[in-house]
Amino acid sequence: MSPPSLDRFRSRLAGTIREEPNPFGDAVFRAEPSDLRDVLRSLRDEHGFDLLLDVTAVDHLELPDSKPRFDVVYILRPSVGSERVRVQCRPPDEDLSLETVSDLWKAANWAEREVYDQYGVRFRNHPNLKRILNHKDFVGHPLRKDYDIKKQQWLSEPDDLMDEMRKLRGGAEGEESESVLLNIGPSHPAMHGALRALVDLEGETVRHTVPEIGYLHRGFEKSAEKGTYTHVIPFTDRLNYCSSVMNNVGYCRTIEKMLGIEPTPRAQTIRVVLLELGRIMDHLVSVAANLVDVGALTNYWYLFNERERIYDVIEALCGARLTHCYVRIGGLAHDLHAGFEEGVEGILRELPKALADVERLVARNRIFLDRVVGVGAITAEEAISHGFTGPCLRACGVPNDLRKDEPYYGYDGYDWNVIVGTRGDTYDRIWVRMEEMRESMRIVAQAMKKMPGGPVDVDDKRVSLPPKTEVYGNIEALMNHFMIIMEGIKPPAGECYGSIEAANGELGFFVVSDGTGKPYKVKVRPPCFYVFSAFPRLTEGGMIQDLIATLGSLNIIAGELDR
């Protein structure tokens, strides 16, 4: 396969597919519903875009071009490489359906279910087109523009998931009596977050797994459409609450991309420090919880003490421990406080000791190795097909890391390595995270050393509030202040996908602007969503205890899974 190249794609398909101009520089192609599968297959097989990042839709009801109403968006990228391409396709309004691509990418299975759930666009030949985030008895499609945000539905009947389980059990009629159905979760000690897996057991061996998500109905994407662009920032905190600053940055970076602004060098470096601290925190939680799941309880405290230390530093910085909300569009809420540097030094001094403690306890422990080596393994091809990114994909040996592939905030200026595993099993996932924490510490140390001076907010009237002294003394500054607060930041109209390498993988935001101060649509691409879709594949054939250990290593955060 030749290296991913859009130019080749452009020249090859010049006749059949139309490239749409995009104000934000993204490559966007418009396909006809009949050509869609061919175009996507060609992109995957011939042009190296083997990773389906996300499928979503845009409801054009309140936009000028409202016929046909829905625009389905496929976002692709090569598993290693920075180029991204969007293929958009408008299903006809009459039957509102497209051909499924879930046979090309396993990731499309859940992605298409989500589009169906949220927008009501159907996918022909989809193996299991049912609601995924909303309740099975939910009426309507919440992300359609004509669905009132205040409409409430009272739904109390639990889903027994038997429709899916029956399909999986299939022809094995005679064995039916021997197997047992067991609900693991949503309220189970090893389900870190409100997740559920209905498993079909034979003895203690898992034969089939049906995962269920969608217990947290926060309506992040719907809420985001109701406030200004700045109002969305606190909502993003709650996505992956283990590393909320990463969500802040991911969102703000997308909006900045739309506005065409680049944060100041100081803001970029501070963001890098916070991003890496966030990554460390997230990995600490993941590894600690994973070790608890295999019964090594003591490590939990060794790691969580260090997490607390990081929380202390961040609390001093922004006043919040869990939901930081420190990043702003075009900069930061405020500059670093005096003493931040000492705090970070403390972290860099103490964290390696905690990691060493944990390593001494488990790294060569026979029981631990027996429990995790070879458990829940997945090959790189399958992982890519499932839409894995981040540590879970790197554990399979694919050096997929946006910080290297598409260096932002000067990540290429730091000396660090991408950690990859070999087997793609639970052990590799744990150890990739352990080593990544060390690499993150290196980045933090270098960033703190080179921390440039200067302002933290860009000098741009469209996004930055003027200083208070100006506001009180100067009518122009007062009006500027008033406009930003009352009407919000106004990115130019258009559609933009921006992403960063979050702790669990590629965290993407697909934002549609209609030119006003409120986002027309904000779609988040949570890395966990696609990782969890592979859960049945990872667990079937193992034992309950393997299932528990595997789940811990995937680090599923229900906060970003459910929207």
Binding site: L182, G295, A296, T298, W301, Y302, I367, I544, Q545
Partner: protein, 399 residues
């Protein structure tokens, strides 16, 4: 104990069968209740407190420190809380089995205390088949666990109960075989007899009697960990997997009895290992009378508590095995090795007569081996302490 009561009867000058029987009966009742209230319950409670405190120190936490000095009465507060809790029985549960299970579990463990010696003379009942009795009576515990798992009508409970059953019956084999080797060496099944067959110096302990018994100690210890559902064999109640295992549906006082049994079991396991391998209450003949008895009690309790500490330590250090690995360890490693052990002990006894010079030398060599193993371990710990920046450690357990 019988002599004590006989002396009491004599001093009163009572005669006649009725008096003797009545005094015997009341005496037994008195000792049983006294042991229950004065030794077993508080001791179990304190072991539970110790476990929580030690675990907390190992995990750089504080642990319970509010009720009583250093939180030592935490167990009483917990017990009181459990008494005040509503006791729920699931509607679909088998009520009879559900309510009977805590009785069995508690009897199984409390019964073992009847033959556990505290000193040379202080023992409730010195049965001549004491070792057998302990094995038999503690088997009531898995029975209770299976009953609770089955009766709860809950899949987690049943999985936990079945795991427990499989585990306990599997590890019963290496435990029994290791004990068999001890019985070969001691020539008696009475626990007091086994202790008497050993001496106060380490070289006289069965642990160092011969190389086979030396390894047998470890098989016996591991098998007992498994029978007591302790980490790394805590699969029946693995909280991150089976919620709470067999006791998922239990609440209130019934649940407390399961917990009580678990911690009482810690002491029972440690004491049995102590009796079989570590010389029990044997002390050098430096005192007599009451002083000797007290000395013996202290020595016995100290050895047992060290073992309790080791068990706690293991629990908070190791991860948990998977169920198939647990079975593998037992049937493919421990069972064949313990077979070898029994034959090896018998052969050793035939080749090296007891008390011969060769036997003494071998014992002392084994003591040296044991000491050097501990020494190596100590060095390793010291290295880790050095690596871990001692300033950060709180060596004072009460800090």
């Amino acid at each position: 104990m019988q002599q004590l009561l006989d002396r009491f009867i004599e001093s009163r000058g009572w005669t006649g069968d009725w008096a003797i029987e009545l005094v015997y009966f009341l005496g037994m009742l008195f000792f049983a209740v006294a042991l229950l209230l004065v030794v077993v319950t508080p001791f179990t409670g304190i072991v539970s407190w110790a476990e929580r405190r030690i675990a907390a120190r190992m995990q750089s936490r504080v642990g319970p420190n509010r009720v009583g000095p250093q939180g030592i009465l935490q167990w009483a507060a917990d017990g009181l809380k459990c008494i005040l809790k509503e006791d729920l029985i699931p509607e679909d549960a088998d009520r009879i089995l559900f309510t009977a299970a805590p009785y069995l579990v508690f009897c199984g463990l409390f019964g073992a205390f009847a033959v556990l010696p505290f000193s040379e003379h202080l023992v409730i009942a010195d049965l001549d088949a004491g070792a057998f009795y302990v094995m038999a009576i503690t088997s009531l515990v898995p029975l209770g666990i299976i009953m609770s798992g089955w009766a709860s009508n809950n899949k987690w409970s049943l999985l936990g109960g079945m795991r427990s059953a499989a585990q306990i019956i599997s590890y019963e084999i290496p435990a029994a075989l290791s004990l068999l080797a001890v019985v070969l060496a001691a020539g008696t099944l009475s626990l007091q007899g086994i202790i008497r067959a050993q001496g106060w110096s380490p070289a006289d302990w069965f642990l160092f009697r011969n190389p086979f018994l030396f390894t047998g100690f470890f098989y016996f210890f591991v098998a007992n960990l498994a029978e007591g559902n302790r980490t790394p064999f805590d699969l029946p109640e693995a909280e991150s997997e089976l919620v709470a295992g067999y006791s998922t549906e239990y609440s209130g006082m019934r649940f407390a009895f399961f917990m009580l049994a678990e911690w009482a079991n810690l002491y029972v396991v440690a004491s049995v290992v102590n009796v079989a391998f570590l010389g029990g209450w044997n002390v050098p003949p430096i005192a007599e009378g009451v002083v000797l008895t007290i000395l013996q009690m202290v020595v016995f309790a100290a050895k047992s508590l060290v073992l309790v500490f080791v068990i706690i330590w293991v629990r908070w250090t190791l991860p948990r095995l998977r169920v198939d690995q647990m079975m593998l360890l037992c049937w493919k490693y421990l069972v064949p090795l313990s077979f070898l052990n029994v034959l090896g002990t018998a052969v050793w006894m035939m080749i090296v007569p007891e008390g011969s010079a060769a036997g003494r030398v071998a014992s002392w060599l084994l003591v040296l081996v044991g000491l050097s193993l501990s020494g190596l371990f100590g060095l390793r710990v010291r290295k880790n302490l050095k690596d871990a920046d001692v300033g950060r450690l709180y060596l004072n357990p009460f800090s």
